[in-house]
């Protein structure tokens, strides 16, 4: 008998809120988390806006010994995991801990730690760095610390596929639970690239907006970065039922494809095959999909390509479904973005509220879909998709159903 996978907990910290309730409230209101960036040397950048988590005090959450070990991306992941696990009500002291694992997506890992320490040795001429630089910067630091704090003894690793990292991570976790490798998986993504080196590198590619994130809109001029984390508890359905857990949604399907074409330019074919694959894996008909949380970066190339891929997969139904990019509010969290976006998908299924694409100015003929411009909408549906398409031509799409 096929094992089904459900979501029984979710947590986040991002520019829209310090938890799920604040984040969903901001999405319903269509609030922007994007503003002026604040960090050392920001005046040497051309790109000075981002969805930064402001007034964040690590000392309010972590001891000095923990702070010495935790890069900012690990801190965000731990805070999100704590909220998700608390909501799930799971206790890992018994056999459950042995049957629970962690997969966290991140593209940059401890990039802030690297930035600080490269600066120390190259710019400031120091010859000594803190002994914990390596355990702070490694990509699996967040996953490992979640497993240590909660005593989770099953599979534990990090996934790095640029902007699709957290969708790949959540898809892998889904496969582990469905396939029997674990009964519970803590999965999501975390990113913290909002520092001088992180933004300077992106600036070079000339796809960053200096004005704002306006996905699918005429006059859009690029992406805006965000930071933070979102983490979910994925649980085998009977396991959740047996303990009377509150089931938020079912993770019903997942597919991943590679464009095998270009290192930065997206492809209609790769994106379309991933969406079609997720539908097939979830045994969903295309007309059952009411909402797609778009990759929707706000770049010229992504948004038009994504719309063509949706049209190819959904045919006539493309005109009836809703597709929005919440990156317009929380920014592009790179390796963490799919996880924060899954919150909007669960909100659509559970609450019937579709998060909007804010910053929308005018329709672009190349993006002729219902992108839920500027204002959230009420709509009931039973199934939704969440898209992530990464540099490197890596596509990962999740399919969710209401329970």
């Amino acid at each position: 008998m096929t094992r089904r996978v459900v979501i029984t907990g979710q947590g986040t910290v991002n520019a829209l809120g310090r938890n799920v309730a604040e984040t969903l409230a901001a999405m319903r209101e269509g609030n922007a988390g994007i503003g002026p960036l604040e960090f050392r040397d920001v005046e040497r950048l051309k790109v000075r806006i981002g969805a930064q988590i402001k007034a964040y005090d690590p000392a309010a959450h972590f001891t000095p010994k923990e702070r010495a070990l935790y890069d900012r991306f690990t801190q965000f992941a731990l805070l999100a995991a704590h909220e998700a696990i608390a909501q799930s009500g799971l206790n890992f002291a018994d056999e459950t801990g042995r049957r629970t694992g962690v997969v966290i997506g991140t593209a940059g890992g401890g990039l802030g730690t690297q930035d600080d320490n490269f600066r120390a040795v190259y710019q400031d001429g120091k010859n000594r760095v803190h002994p914990f630089v390596v355990p702070r910067l490694m990509h699996n630091a967040a996953a490992s610390h979640i497993s240590m704090v909660h005593r989770l003894l099953g599979p534990c690793y990090a996934v790095a596929t640029a902007c699709a990292s957290s969708n790949h991570a959540m898809g892998q976790a889904f496969h582990l639970v469905r396939g029997g490798g674990a009964d519970v998986m803590i999965a999501g993504g975390a990113e913290s690239m909002l520092n001088f080196g992180g933004i300077k590198a992106w600036e070079g590619l000339r796809v960053m907006s200096q004005t704002g994130c306006r996905p699918f809109s005429l006059g859009r001029d690029g992406m805006v970065q965000g930071e933070g984390a979102a983490v979910f508890v994925f649980e085998e359905y009977q396991h959740a039922r047996a303990r009377g857990a509150d089931i938020l949604a079912e993770l019903a399907g997942f597919a991943m494809t590679s464009d095998a074409a270009d290192i930065v330019m997206p492809s209609v074919d790769g994106a379309a095959r991933a969406m079609a694959g997720a539908l097939s894996d979830a045994r969903l008909n295309r007309d059952e999909i009411g909402y797609i949380n778009a990759h929707g970066t706000g770049t010229r190339a992504n948004d038009s390509t994504e719309c063509r891929a949706v049209a190819r997969v959904f045919g006539d139904h493309a005109a009836r479904l809703m597709i929005s990019s919440t990156k317009s509010m929380h920014g592009h969290l790179i390796g963490g973005t799919g996880a924060v976006e899954l919150l909007a998908v669960v909100m659509a299924l559970r609450e019937g509220v579709i998060a909007p694409t804010i910053g929308f100015q005018a329709p672009d003929p190349e993006c002729p879909l219902d992108v839920v411009p500027n204002t959230a909408r009420a709509a009931r549906m039973t199934a939704a998709l969440s898209n992530a398409f990464a540099f490197g031509g890596l596509n990962a799409v999740l399919a969710l159903k209401s329970v």
Binding site: L205, D221, G222, A301
Partner: protein
């Protein structure tokens, strides 16, 4: 012999497009030379490094916004303007 701005820009574009400078026609565009967006980004970077200027080019904006890159001639004119603005004393 001192190279003109135009000659240097054409050489940079020719290198990225992997074509001889002599084959860049007066009405050429980045697309007609087979220059994709990543090639254009690399060419703009080389122009900035060569002339010590900031080219307001955004690969995600329309081709006429900020920095007109609709044709090679427009790119040359744009760079010439940036170089002469840099040469002028500030204030």
């Amino acid at each position: 012999m001192v190279q003109t701005v135009r000659q240097q820009v054409l050489e940079i574009i020719a290198e990225q497009a992997v074509v001889p400078v002599s084959e860049i026609e007066s009405d050429a565009t980045p697309a007609s030379l087979g220059l994709d967006s990543l090639g254009l980004v690399e060419a703009v970077f080389a122009i900035e490094e060569t002339f010590d200027v900031e080219v307001p080019f955004n690969a995600s904006a329309a081709e006429m916004d900020g920095f007109d890159n609709s044709s090679i001639a427009a790119i040359v004119l744009g760079v010439e303007a940036l170089v002469s603005a840099r040469a002028r004393p500030a204030g």
